[in-house]
Symmetry: C2
Subunit: 136 residues, 2 copies
């Protein structure tokens, strides 16, 4: 898409076919996908796309402020193209990660000397679908 190419170029990222596809895949979902999920989603249409490229592109997006990286489990990184401060909820039953509506947390006062570059708040528990399942 022409639009995405410009968008990337404006932020100092050389737009390649792969980078455009990866950014669009990330931006068009609310699922907070991992690198592997994005690779799996794009692979059918881009058979030669390598995981390496997906990993490095996602890191590049984070560096340039176009995505945020979420470390919610110890075992995989998830990404979100929505970089506005907002809350995440991870369901321990189904593993889904969702955005929570409502206001972002007020960043806490930090003691002198600390330079916070980003603040993340997340809650873990059961999502509506899974907690409903338990009751039935």
């Amino acid at each position: 898409m022409k639009h995405t190419a410009e968008f990337l170029r404006e932020r100092g990222i050389q737009p390649s076919q792969q980078r455009i596809a990866i950014y669009e895949a990330l931006a068009s979902t609310k699922a907070h996908p991992s690198a592997d999920l994005i690779h799996g989603a794009l692979a059918p249409g881009m058979p030669t796309l390598s995981r390496t490229t997906v990993y490095s592109t996602l890191e590049l997006l984070v560096e340039r402020g176009l995505a945020q990286r979420l470390a919610l489990t110890g075992s995989e990184l998830r990404y979100d193209a929505d970089v506005s401060p907002h809350l995440h909820f991870r369901c321990r039953a189904c593993g889904s990660v969702s955005d929570l509506p409502g206001q972002a947390p007020s960043p806490p006062e930090l003691p002198a000397g600390y330079l916070a570059e980003r603040v993340q708040l997340y809650a873990e528990g059961l999502c509506p679908a899974c907690s409903a399942g338990l009751r039935s």
Copy 2:
């Protein structure tokens, strides 16, 4: 230590030599160590202690509410024997994780249907030592 043994037993954990040592190692540090770090710290005095035991004991402590698990980077889990709600700060330069003084943020209002079991807030940036280093 006799004291720790009782403490564990009261929470339904069979106190073994290994479990006592692991819990004491975790409780006596503010470093938010990973399983491997704890293993490394105890290994000199307990040459047969296996990583497997450290991993499973830490998970047991989390289940029983005696420790919390921190997923701050995508690549490793860190543990904290302080289970009171408090803030964590991770320095992106030196990788250290520290507790932040001050009260934890009030848990946000969750939409109906969500059952939050734990809420974590953490900030990432530069710690006092590392930000001082940049200035000099």
